[in-house]
Symmetry: C2
Subunit: 239 residues, 2 copies
DNA sequence: GCAAAAGTGTTACGAGTACACCCATGT
DNA sequence: ACATGGGTGTACTCGTAACACTTTTGC
């Protein structure tokens, strides 16, 4: 099928968005997967996603999917475009272009709202990435790109706070880095770097003992969009 | 128009690729623009691009456009995806999704082959970016994103060599950085950093006097995909 | 008191900056 | 000889890594 458009021909294609929704739960980086109820790849795990509607913006479509799968409708959830996948045979149903988005959400009190729990669940990202055949379509590649983006951005942006609740302690923030990077970080140097980086975290003024030990100050995220200096992934283990 | 696809409806859309083709000429970062011969935006400047064909991969489509506009058909030309733009009203002809690619090419001996010179030309990127109304569609935004990507990647990848001919001197490489970043760099510290960074440049063994003064060693690009340590954009002016 | 986690001080090291200085060519 | 750019040596500074040490809670 070819469509004429003022002297120019083009092949119409399906346009979808797929979501890499990440969170940190129980000290590990986890991704939200759904089990497909219909062909193709029926019964296999896949990233949440769906077709973009007429007159709907790409990011709006991604945000709609996110709300449908997690119940998180807030504009404050971090959502960013990662890449677009358009290999001709990637979807056996026909030509479908997929725009992948990365969403970072805090550990949700209610596991997954707005959808039936049987078909959606959190799975450790490392476990999924270890098996290239686990996911439907080219979703292994999409997940891999999304996770790598998240890892890279933690270095030079204050993005880690997107995984945290409104108020958090420095060691909770450190737990995010340790889960995403898969390595331990010296708590003392981390504390100093993070609190000194301009606009990264701002103290709330209250403390909590929920992590045990001496009470820790609570912080909320600052206004900074980039980190100076960056947190290097080589920030080694210690103490 | 809605298409049924195994119980799922989707709106078919046009899918295009647009190219941000950058080079460094006469000490400035320049972008290849074409003057549109047909509506919409007839007579306005725009990024080269076109619809993706049936059974054609996104990157293949971008590479085809690149070859058509520049005559550069080599697989060795650096080409990477930047972002996808899909605002519903971005193209007045109808719903068109555009996948933007960034291409970095050396300063071509023949200006622009494979196309009529009247309609395509190199324009300093800074000049275009200074006027948000210069380009058709949302191409100002696309160009802006592409240039920012190039600037950022010079820091942590050996990408600058993509702007160079097969063999180049360190000061020619430095000229790339100065043009893209718009700042001067200390030639002595730059020389040391670049030649010491593992896999960035490898000496050919011959020298040239084409830059004047003492003969300079010639290098070609190395195998490294990332730079350790990175070249900071704060690499200050000097001497 | 003891364990546990928060938070501070200090030292050693390595990378970045600035710049003095020498080298090899063209004119 | 002199100008021009290539290339090396080196001192200073600053961010990081490592880790000893003090603080404040729960049990």
């Amino acid at each position: 099928m070819t469509i004429k458009l003022i002297g120019m021909d083009y092949e119409p294609m399906g346009v979808a968005t797929d979501l890499v929704i990440l969170t940190v739960r129980a000290g590990s980086l986890q991704v939200l997967l759904i089990r497909r109820g219909i062909p193709p790849y029926q019964g296999r795990w896949a990233l949440p996603g769906g077709f973009v509607r007429d007159q709907e913006d790409l990011e709006s479509a991604a945000r709609r999917e996110l709300a449908e799968e997690t119940g998180l409708a807030s504009e404050r959830i971090h959502l960013e475009q990662v890449a677009t996948y358009g290999e001709p045979k990637r979807d056996p149903r026909g030509r479908v272009i997929s725009v992948a988005y990365l969403a970072l959400v805090p550990d949700l009190p209610a596991p997954v709202a707005g959808t039936d729990a049987a078909s959606a669940s959190w799975v450790p990202a490392g476990e999924v990435l270890a098996d290239p055949k686990r996911l439907a379509f080219d979703h292994h590649r999409v997940l891999s790109d999304g996770v790598e983006r998240a890892r890279a951005k933690l270095e030079y942006s204050p993005l880690a706070t997107a995984f945290c609740a409104g108020e958090f302690t420095i060691s909770e923030l450190r737990g995010i880095y340790e889960a995403v990077w898969g390595q331990t970080i010296d708590p003392r140097n981390f504390h100093r770097k993070v609190t000194k980086a301009e606009g990264f975290v701002v103290p709330v003024g209250t403390t909590t003992t929920r992590d045990g030990g001496r009470p820790a100050q609570l912080f909320h995220r600052g206004e900074a969009k980039t980190l100076h200096p960056p947190l290097t992934r080589g920030l080694a283990a210690g103490g």
